[in-house]
């Protein structure tokens, strides 16, 4: 079949790649993680108490309090993250069902289960979509399941339609683009009637086992959706450390031996791997998977399966209650009991007439938002399942423009939900669900502490004012146990999953994050944009100037104060050393995004 695809792609030579097998942490390891995490949090509290009570430099109260507040906020983030890491329990796997009665209540006549597979697309290369369709057609179909594949083309393209027809799948387009992806899927739902719906992105290429592995969870009649990990099979591999030392650094045999030695201690290491930090395994395998036990893993769109009944039931509730709320807002201005009632009844009806039923909420983060509402349903108590094994492959954003756009959407979308319809106020969510959703939200507030962390060393270098009364033994004694234990706890929790890029981008992303926060604060609608799946061309330094400025200021500051110490006009040597390391850490983190902005086109494989 692949002979039909005429194009060669930049990812053609990655086609044979397979995802890493999933780790199954033993109870012993979970216990060790919990002990380390508890110790780390205890030391963190001890450090912060000391910071607030005994370490502030009262010569510079504003600066001191700003920094210690930032440290406290960062620590709250660490506590939330630790709770997230605390426990892992996957949902029991079950055999795929074969009759409708096995997955749903209340049917008169039993029959096969109908599964709709949706491919929403807008402007992706049609041949790219063809690859996805081919793989979807190649999925093994369990007994008693009828599968229908539908291309939902918001681009209304003839050539897309031709491909759908050639491949023998359904094609639906619409005249407008209302609601973008969520609206596109709604249009697909209106034209289909399956019991379960698989949602893919245009570039999602399922493995043959996709249905066999995911449908069984729906035997539990409370399961609303199953999310599988998104795996980018086109991330840069990088060069193995020994080879890098041997060839790139020109150390020859000696470099190779040193490289192998280092790998014995730190594990297999690649240099220049995944510059854009696209690899989402930290997110799926650690963060989302460890929310499954408390029914708080959220919905991320592509690679998920949904129960139509859950989606539609929730959509109707949301539709009516939002109409009632809006009319209550307006009706409160009408006084007089009887008049108020009459007015409100009429308003209810007219607002409902103009409101939309949205199976998936028309929002830039429609997937997570719809999932939150399902979790928060007070009567139904819908469940979500996170399936740990990768069952599909996708393409990652290949350049900083696409990358920024995607991260910006995640950040803005999440912040927007919390600003306007906060899960923390939803009655139907459990405490643990609120903590887990809250942890995601809180992580997007990170500029509040990262910006002070980035500027503190710079301010110190140029002014000589330190936010801590003394960088002496006492400082190290309080800080180092926490940093050390925190690192051990993280290593133990994430063994086998690389966290380096995630940690770098957590800092380096600060500017894009500030812009997202600003737009939400100003109530500007977060724009819907389709993440480009193909490389954008051009130099992208204009995206990273804030990071560039901070790196420059840090280096200039370190040199400036270093010079002053050298000529003897400055004597804060201990503080200088701490701040140089601190600034270095900042610069290393920020440098990743500057490097990413200079990524070149990958070498063309062939045309």
């Amino acid at each position: 079949m692949t002979s039909k695809t005429k194009k060669d792609w930049y990812f053609t030579h990655y086609e044979s790649r397979q995802p890493e097998p999933v780790n199954h942490p033993s109870p012993k390891r979970i216990f060790v993680t919990q002990v380390l995490a508890s110790a780390s949090i205890t030391m963190g509290v001890w450090y912060l108490i000391w910071r607030w009570t005994d370490s502030l430099n009262w010569g510079a109260p504003g600066f001191s309090i700003l920094l210690v507040t930032a440290e406290t906020l960062a620590f709250i983030g660490t506590v939330l993250f630790t709770i997230n890491l605390w426990y892992v329990k996957d949902t029991q796997k079950r055999k795929a069902p074969s009759r409708l009665s096995e997955i749903s209540l209340g049917s008169i006549t039993d029959r096969n289960i109908v599964v709709d597979v949706f491919y929403p697309t807008y402007n992706e290369d049609v041949e790219l979509v063809r690859l996805s369709i081919l793989d979807a057609k190649n999925m093994r179909i369990p007994n008693g399941i009828d599968v229908q594949i539908h291309v939902l083309d918001d681009g209304n393209r003839e050539e897309m339609k031709d491909i759908a027809i050639e491949e023998g799948v359904n094609y639906f387009a619409r005249i407008d683009n209302v609601g973008f992806k969520a609206g596109n899927i709604r249009n697909g739902m209106e034209k289909t009637d399956g019991d379960l719906m698989v949602i893919f992105d245009a570039d999602t290429r399922p493995f043959p086992a996709f249905l066999e592995q995911t449908l069984g969870y729906f035997r539990d009649k409370d399961v609303a959706w199953v999310q599988t990990p998104q795996w980018f099979f086109d991330c840069q591999e990088g060069t193995p450390l020994p080879k890098w030392l041997e060839k790139n650094i020109h150390l020859g045999k000696f470099g190779k031996i040193v490289g192998h030695g280092l790998e014995k201690v730190f594990g297999p290491t690649h240099v220049g791997q995944d510059t854009l930090g696209n690899d989402p395994s930290m997110f799926y395998d650690i963060i989302l998977r460890r929310r499954n036990w408390c029914n708080a893993s959220f919905c991320c769109g592509a690679g998920s399966v949904h129960r139509r009944e859950a989606i539609m039931n929730q959509a109707l509730k949301r539709y009516v209650s939002s109409a009632l709320e809006k009319s209550e807002d307006l009706a409160q201005h009408v006084s007089g009991d009887e008049l108020h009632i009459v007015f409100k009844e009429q308003l209810n009806l007219e607002i409902a007439r103009r409101s939309e039923v949205m199976p998936y909420i028309f929002h830039v983060s429609e997937d997570i938002y719809t999932g939150i509402h399902l979790h928060a349903d007070t009567d139904k108590k819908w469940k979500s399942v996170f399936h740990p094994e990768t069952l599909s492959k996708m393409l990652s954003p290949q350049d900083l423009v696409s990358w920024s756009l995607q991260r910006f959407k995640y950040a803005g979308g999440t912040l927007d939900i919390f600003a306007h319809d906060s899960p923390l106020a939803m009655k139907g969510l459990s405490i643990m669900q609120k903590i887990m959703y809250g942890a995601t939200f809180f992580s997007y507030l990170s500029p509040l502490w990262i910006v002070p962390f980035l500027f503190a060393p710079i301010i110190f270098f140029f002014s000589g004012i330190a936010p801590v009364s003394a960088y002496g033994g006492e400082f190290y004694a309080h800080l180092i146990p926490f940093l050390f234990l925190n690192r051990l706890a993280l290593m133990s929790a994430t063994w086998g999953v690389s966290t380096v890029r995630g940690e770098q981008y957590y800092i380096a992303f600060f500017w894009q994050n500030i812009v997202a926060m600003w737009e939400v604060l100003c109530r500007q609608p977060i724009k819907f944009q389709v993440t480009p799946k193909e490389r954008q061309s051009g130099i992208q330094l204009d995206l990273v100037w804030p990071q560039f400025i901070i790196i420059s200021l840090s280096v200039a500051g370190a040199l400036y104060m270093g010079w002053n110490i050298y000529i003897g006009s400055e004597n804060h040597i201990a503080a200088y050393v701490v701040n140089v390391f601190w600034a270095l850490n900042n610069c290393l983190a920020l440098s990743i995004i500057v490097r990413a902005s200079m990524l070149r086109e990958p070498e063309e494989v062939q045309v």
Partner: protein, 126 residues
């Protein structure tokens, strides 16, 4: 599966002649051009669910679909909903917008308009 409508003055009665009101029924309804055409001029509409035994959320959503095609100021009533359907209407909150009625008599005077002159038996036979 069949859907038919009968007009009684300014009141349109749409009957769902099917046991299951589900996504396929909703889809079938949306393809029924002759009924869709009438909705934009119908001020009072009655959805008759006499034959429906089981409805799901995708099926019951057809009521919103019908209602939204009616002109501003219009109303929609649900006739002959069984207990299970009433539970679903309550669960989805749709009962807060669309009253359920037990007979066409329950459609209040102004909405029925000239309907008052016709007895309910006549209507069933028509």
């Amino acid at each position: 599966m069949n859907i038919f409508s009968r007009k009684l003055d300014n009141c349109l009665v749409v009957s769902f002649d099917m046991k299951l009101l589900n996504a396929s029924a909703a889809r079938y309804f949306r393809s029924n051009k002759s009924i869709l055409k009438q909705l934009s001029t119908t001020a009072t509409l009655v959805v008759d669910l006499e034959h429906v035994i089981i409805a799901d959320s995708s099926g019951i959503a057809v009521i919103v679909d019908i209602y939204q095609r009616q002109p501003p100021g219009s109303k929609l009533f649900i006739l002959n909903a069984n207990l299970a359907i009433k539970v679903l209407l309550e669960d989805t909150l749709l009962d807060q917008l669309f009253p359920t009625i037990e007979s066409l008599e329950d459609v209040s005077e102004p909405e029925r308009g000239a309907l008052t002159s016709v007895s309910s038996k006549d209507m069933e036979s028509s």
